[in-house]
């Protein structure tokens, strides 16, 4: 009995960790701060000075950030690196800096200096270069609704999977394979659904994606309910129906099983 409990708990933790892994891949991608970069331009060919826009400098005007490319777990990634630098002089909207400060250690490759970012940067933040794109708000609402809709049925199915996994211990391979398939479908669906989400970084919280207060503020500020109230209502009703349906299905399954057992 104790073994069965440990096995069940182990399976539950395993599924939870797998789900977290898939979600964290997407969260990291979504939370990358969008930046626009510029490169330092030499004043003259043999000059020791270079120009960068003054807007690149942080508030204290003693440093700026540049996007450094490094090897990440899933290939190359851009990361924010702070560089101490003081402008020698200011000309209109440009700052004059020592030539070497705008280039890498070899002095050959210009640094990708951040001129604009969707949120204030900190050292080590993951970055992504900003692209001009149009966001279809309705589509994003629909994807979010789909994601929310599959949450409850998914969790209920996973609970069933955990139970079925205990049959695997007794040599019931069919139950094990069935559970593996359900877990695969669950992971695949959350991976693909969250992959379709394309929310501009400025509409996501600066630090934590689960910052509920931020979302409430955003909804009020952008009057989402006013502009997309109909779409939101349809999505909420659909999600409600799916959740209610899953609870009903579970209820009927339990009742049916109980009645079969009593017979």
């Amino acid at each position: 009995m104790a073994k069965k409990r440990v096995w069940t708990a182990g399976c539950a933790v395993l599924i939870l960790l797998l789900t977290c892994t898939v979600l964290s891949m997407r969260v990291e991608k979504m939370m990358r701060i969008e930046v626009e970069t510029v490169t330092a331009v030499k004043e003259e060919q043999d000059s020791e000075l270079a120009k960068i826009p003054i807007s690149c400098y942080n508030e204290d005007k003693s440093s700026f950030f540049y996007a450094h490319e490094r090897k990440g777990l899933f290939g190359a990634e851009l990361v924010a690196v702070k560089k101490e630098s003081y402008p020698i002089d200011e000309e209109e909207e440009m700052a004059l800096i020592v030539y070497t400060e705008g280039f890498d250690s070899t002095g050959m490759k210009p640094l990708k200096i951040v001129s604009q970012s969707s949120w204030p940067l900190e050292e080590g933040d993951l970055l992504v270069l900003k692209e001009d794109r149009e966001v279809d708000v309705v589509k994003q609402i629909q994807i979010l609704a789909c994601f929310t809709a599959i949450l409850l049925p998914g969790i209920l199915l996973l609970v069933r999977c955990v139970k079925r996994f205990s049959d695997l211990r007794d040599g019931n391979w069919k139950a094990g394979i069935e559970s593996f398939i359900i877990i695969g479908i669950w992971l695949g669906s959350i991976f693909s659904l969250t992959g379709k989400l394309d929310i501009p970084r400025e509409y996501l919280p600066p630090e934590y994606i689960l910052d509920i207060g931020f979302y409430i503020n955003e909804i009020q500020e952008f009057k989402l309910l006013e502009y997309y109230g109909r779409e939101l209502l349809i999505c909420i009703v659909c999600v409600g129906f799916i959740w209610f349906g899953s609870i009903l299905a579970v209820f009927f399954c339990c009742t049916y099983r109980k009645s079969r057992k009593s017979k």
């Binding site: 096995w7 990291e28 777990l73």
Partner: protein, 259 residues
């Protein structure tokens, strides 16, 4: 009198348990306690489990590597152990002594020869450098040789009379009869490879390739919360194996003592 003695024993074991569990309890507290000003917070769990896949990917990769090493060494040790325990061949005793000698050598002694060998095989800077020497470690073979020796030869003879081949003898006679010892070996090898530190540092160049055991040392050094959560993550597989196989572990270790 007996009751007082019993109470004293309970108190003693409770204190002992508290001392042994202190690091885990400390980690649990540190993972949620952010100081007097901030109070309780689960942000460290968010950082490790949701903010970035780095920790979990390392966890899965390390888990895969350790399972591969444990399974590989267990299978190999079952076959080699059977050969040493139940068959006769030239130099059997010398080979066993050599293996036992290699088993007792400290890891630091074998690191350099292993490094040279792995370099010549072209396995350096890849996980093959950790998996291959792990699978071919002599510990399992020596361990199971002593266990298999205690099995009666008549069982094997009876199986041969029933026309069982060598693999069938191992699969249907030797393995089920020594299940606790084999499970114990699997768990011990898993724990050893899960806690591997020296080999990754020497054989791997890229810090990104390090398994969780090494990666843990350099993880967010300014955040004790993240370190604690990573520590708890590290505890999960070992705790699972210990809780799930604790009867086999007890039996396996007892069998070894008897053998």
């Amino acid at each position: 009198m007996v009751r007082i003695k019993r109470q004293k024993r309970v108190i003693f074991f409770l204190i002992l348990a508290a001392v042994l569990f202190f690091p885990v309890i400390y980690m649990l507290i540190c993972s949620v306690w952010k100081g007097v000003d901030a109070g309780l917070s689960f942000m460290s769990y968010y950082d490790v489990f949701l903010e970035s896949p780095g920790y979990l990917v390392k966890f899965w990769r390390s888990l895969g590597m350790c399972l591969l090493i444990s399974a590989g060494q267990t299978v190999l040790a079952c076959m080699a152990g059977t050969a040493f325990a139940k068959y006769s061949f030239i130099g059997k005793k010398i080979w066993l002594v050599v293996m036992a000698l290699f088993m007792v050598l400290p890891i630091q002694v074998t690191l350099l020869p292993n490094y040279i060998l792995l370099e010549k095989l072209g396995f350096l800077n890849s996980w093959k450098a950790l998996i291959i020497p792990g699978i071919f470690s002599p510990f399992g073979t020596v361990w199971l040789t002593f266990i298999f020796r205690s099995l009666p030869n008549e069982w094997l003879d009876a199986a041969r009379l029933d026309r069982a081949n060598q693999l069938q003898i191992i699969r249907y006679i030797i393995v089920p009869a020594s299940k606790p010892a084999i499970v114990t070996l699997f768990v011990l090898v898993f724990v050893e490879s899960w806690n591997m530190v020296e080999q990754p540092v020497i054989f791997l160049e890229e810090q990104l390739d390090y398994p969780l055991s090494v990666f843990l040392a350099g993880v967010a050094q300014n955040s004790i919360g993240i370190q604690s959560v990573c520590g708890l993550l590290c505890l999960l597989p070992v705790t699972f194996f210990f809780l799930y196989y604790h009867t086999e572990l007890t039996d396996g270790l007892r069998d070894t003592l008897w053998s």
